[in-house]
């Protein structure tokens, strides 16, 4: 059977991105033909400003060179625009007379600069700012002429003006409104921007309405509605763009302000899809690149007939690509009635930040001068994070939250190229910038895949996102508001958790089927998550799937770099007897353990154990009374304790005994991530309880309960949940808190980011205020523990899962 034919009209970013997605999903499905009106391969249109400013060359901004088209078997026709779509016979025709038939047609004709219809607009020297030809014409003009007028003080106009100024022209920006970039900025930020540009030598005519372009053949000046005039040898119109829909309209495809598409990017003709600046989706036409890429992904899934994605509109953010000027805006940044506004303004150093807030959630942000935290604020907007816990310091930025891992290093733009960004994988800023530029990367996922930056512990994710944002400007494709769980699905973690609960999905195949998983058996990222969600929701019913567990949890030990395992027996509360230690010593000798070490959680770690020795070693440990220490688990690790009042002259309560009770209550429980506890006998806090997931600090009158601490990648001190008076209450609150975390956090969320995301108030309300709810949570926790507190070591020492630990013996 011959391949189906896919024809793309428009060789720009949105169209080619769609093809890339199609090729990724179904490389052999289509015979592809591309028609472009420009004589170039696909290039990064948003980088035209740096080209004009002389900071980049055309070659730098080519995204897919001719070789790419050849390698993917794509027939490319450049410089020959399509002039006719024959929908009845399903074919297109170019100005040069080439015809091509299609089974599916993708229209990505982009937009045209809007030229104000005033007398003289057709004179020589009047340009738009849209493509390489416009840039060439501007560069040419700058060699022969002096005076330039840019009409339009928006993003594009200012970038054009800056570029012309860099090429030695005397530039005046004409703007209709009383402040610049009114769609992206508020007045204070815009005034600071204007001042800064004026200092660089740019001139402005505000509230000026263009009436006529003066001159003979070539432009000589611009006349305004108040009668005033200004000289000009070059006029650039950058007042906006209009979707380029003439071709679609002439073919009778329904258009309004743009080509109208549904959530699957399909036009009113079912064989024809459309993406990019030419489309109108839910009444909105987009002019920034990030939404176009989201559209491209959705269109691709429908073109390859997987038919899953839906485009539901985009939230956009903006960054001006004028070197040395940092501004950023996102969301709904003009306050409406009932909104609250946080403002930080320091004219002396040129910093302005404004956040618009409703119900303790950030709705919009405008920043000037210091835009470092733009990506963070944008994330808070997209995820609807409750900011009450850090509202008082939010304007000072994310690093003020105590990002001990990086601190001031987060000033990305100021970093040198050899500054190490990702400490886990040794990736420097220069490596990332280089990969973005040479490979044409736009997303965090792509950068992770190519450079490994932020692909391990993830603590530098914010830094990497900032580098992407500052390198590709507005092209940066921030993660969509609803983050898909992994590449196997478009559903978020929350969608999956809810579906498992509401639809009583009790095995993994049901989840795959019900939620239309895109891959046959998921991947190494989603399967462990699903296994956990099912286990947490249906204790006693769901059968744990060993093959969906990461090896550490399948082998019940931590895999080491040489493929051996480590063994940590549980010592409740860190207490032990000479007999315990002797048993551990005997096991270590018997199995030639090469190294032993006391862990940070007050346990003993035996390193370098061969996998096939594990069951026999566990058998000895089990007989000596030990159970698994779960040092490998997404679950309870250890309860660390101090000496307590039995011995310590400062101790106020029996902290060791409480630690033992807590560990006896909670060991064996599977959780979204590892979980550490500690009990300190007095506020001197020798057990370091205030950097644990759940920490107890004993005081004379009872117990302080602390939650959401972390001593790892990013040190976070706990939040005080509440104070209680009895040990029984400590146990109930701890179990209820763990159960809330088990039921609602995303897999691989530690409690620290989870508490930050849902807000301390929410946790307090569920655990402290709602007594009945707390008791129910605790009951559910205790119920699930009935199935979880079965020692996996003992089972395996007695022969369970033996295939996991034995190699295959070959007969004969």
């Amino acid at each position: 059977m011959s391949k189906q034919k896919l024809v793309l009209v428009g060789n720009g970013m949105a169209g080619i991105k769609t093809l890339e997605e199609v090729l990724r999903l179904e490389p052999d499905m289509y015979e592809i033909t591309v028609f472009g009106s420009e004589p170039h391969p696909n290039y990064n249109r948003i980088m035209l400003s740096p080209v004009l400013a002389g900071e980049k060359t055309i070659d730098d901004i080519v995204l897919n060179d001719m070789q790419w088209y050849q390698d993917n078997g794509i027939a490319l026709h450049t410089g020959d625009p399509i002039v006719e779509i024959d929908r009845v016979n399903k074919k297109v025709k170019t100005a040069g007379g080439i015809e091509a038939v299609y089974d599916r047609l993708l229209i990505a004709t982009g937009s045209n600069p809007f030229m104000i219809p005033v007398p003289g607009v057709d004179k020589e020297g009047v340009l738009g700012f849209r493509d390489i030809a416009d840039v060439d014409a501007m560069l040419e003009a700058s060699k022969n002429y002096k005076k330039a007028v840019v009409i339009g003080g928006g993003l594009l106009g200012l970038e054009a003006a800056n570029g012309l100024m860099k090429n030695g022209m005397d530039v005046t920006v004409v703007h209709l409104m009383d402040f610049l970039m009114e769609r992206q900025l508020d007045k204070p930020a815009a005034d600071m921007l204007k001042l800064s540009l004026e200092e660089r030598g740019m001139n402005f005519l505000m509230e000026a309405q263009t009436a006529e372009i003066l001159g003979d053949e070539r432009v000589k000046g611009v006349k305004f509605s108040d009668g005033s005039e200004v000289e000009a040898d070059l006029v650039v119109m950058a007042v906006g763009i209009r979707p380029n829909m003439e071709l679609a309209q002439s073919a009778g495809i329904y258009c309004e302000r743009g080509i109208v598409v549904n959530d699957t990017m399909q036009t009113y003709d079912p064989s024809i899809y459309s993406v990019g600046e030419c489309v109108q989706h839910r009444g909105v036409c987009y002019g920034l690149v990030a939404p176009l890429f989201e559209q491209a992904k959705v269109a691709a899934t429908h073109l390859v007939k997987i038919g899953l994605g839906r485009y539901e509109g985009s939230l956009t953010s903006t960054k001006l690509k004028v070197t040395g000027i940092d501004l950023f805006s996102a969301g709904q940044f003009n306050e409406e009635e009932g909104d609250e506004t946080l403002v930080l303004q320091d004219p002396a150093v040129g910093v302005y930040k404004k956040l618009v807030i409703t119900d303790n959630k950030v709705k919009g942000a405008v920043m000037y001068g210091d835009t470092l935290d733009g990506t963070w604020y944008f994330q808070l907007i997209r995820e609807g994070t409750d900011i009450s816990a850090f509202r008082s310091t939010i304007l000072f930025g994310q690093h003020d939250l105590g990002d001990a891992g990086h601190g001031d290093e987060t000033r990305v733009a100021a970093l040198s190229n050899d500054a190490e960004i990702c400490g886990c994988n040794g990736v420097c800023k220069g490596d990332i910038v280089n990969a973005i530029q040479t490979q044409g990367l736009f997303t965090l996922d792509e950068v992770r895949a190519h450079t490994k930056a932020s692909a391990s512990c993830g603590s530098c994710t914010g830094l990497v996102e900032s580098i992407i944002a500052s390198t590709v400007g507005e092209g940066y494709e921030a993660a969509p508001s609803k983050k898909a769980m992994c590449k196997c699905t478009d559903h978020s973690h929350d969608d999956v958790i809810t579906a498992i609960k509401d639809n009583e999905l009790k095995d993994m195949r049901s989840v795959f089927d019900f939620m239309d998983w895109k891959t046959p058996d998921g991947c190494a990222s989603c399967r462990p998550a699903l296994n956990y969600y099912l286990l947490a929701r249906w204790p006693g019913e769901y059968k744990d799937d060993a093959q969906s567990r990461f090896i550490n949890e399948r082998a019940h030990g931590n895999i080491q770099k040489d493929g051996t395992y480590s063994v940590v027996p549980r010592m409740f509360g860190g207490l032990c007897t000479p007999k315990d230690l002797r048993a551990i010593a005997d096991v270590a000798e018997k199995f030639d353990v090469p190294e032993m070490k006391v862990t940070g959680g007050q346990r003993i770690d035996l390193f370098g154990v061969k996998k096939e020795d594990l069951p026999a070693m566990w058998d000895d440990l089990t007989q000596a009374g030990f159970v698994s220490g779960h040092a490998y688990a997404k679950g309870l690790r250890t309860v660390k304790t101090c000496a307590g009042k039995t011995w310590c002259r400062f101790g106020t309560q029996n902290s060791t005994d409480l630690g033992v009770q807590l560990e006896e209550l909670t060991w064996g429980s599977w959780m979204p991530h590892k979980f550490k506890m500690a009990v300190s006998g007095c506020p001197r806090n020798c057990a370091e309880a205030t950097i644990k997931d759940f920490g107890v600090v004993c005081v004379d009158s009872g117990y302080e309960l602390h939650i959401g601490g972390n001593g790892g990648i990013k040190v976070r001190v706990t939040d005080l949940l509440t104070r209680v008076e009895t040990v029984e209450e400590v146990l109930e609150y701890s179990g209820a808190f763990i159960q809330l975390y088990r039921e609602e956090a995303h897999y691989l969320d530690r409690t620290a980011p989870w508490v930050e995301r849902v807000g301390l108030n929410y946790v307090k309300q569920r655990i402290v205020d709602d007594e009945a709810g707390r008791k129910e949570l605790f009951e559910r926790f205790k119920y699930s523990q009935k199935f979880a507190q079965i020692d996996p070591w003992k089972e395996r020492a007695q022969g369970a899962e033996s295939h996991e630990f034995q190699t295959l013996k070959i007969a004969g």
Partner: protein, 109 residues
């Protein structure tokens, strides 16, 4: 001439899992996919020699447990932007029995 060695029953290898066969020089990982195909790879990730047999199997791919490289079970090649390759060996299932061929000179231990 292809020399098939009988190594196990299919049911000895868990679905979406793997078992290891030791030879005199190395370990070979035998994988079983969801649709009961079997594949054999040298049990060594081309990245940092992680034991691929311990990884999570999905589709015709295994994800290395050490640093999440994805290796094709069919070709032994690393997927996506990662570049590298581990050896493959012919394996097959007949009547519920798994067979493997080794390279010349390799002896099952």
């Amino acid at each position: 001439m292809t020399n098939w060695i009988e190594i196990a029953k299919l049911e000895d290898i868990p679905k979406l899992g793997s078992r290891v066969v030791k030879t005199d020089t190395m370990n070979i990982a035998i994988f079983r996919t969801a649709d009961d195909n079997v594949f054999a790879l040298k049990d060594e990730c081309p990245h940092k020699q992680g034991p691929l047999s311990q990884g999570i199997v999905h589709d015709n791919t295994v994800t290395c447990p050490l640093h999440n490289w994805r290796i094709s079970l069919e070709s032994g090649e690393a997927q996506g932007p990662d570049v590298g390759c581990t050896n493959t060996y012919a394996a097959k299932v007949e009547n519920g029995v798994v067979y493997l061929t080794l390279a010349v000179g390799e002896v099952a231990a």
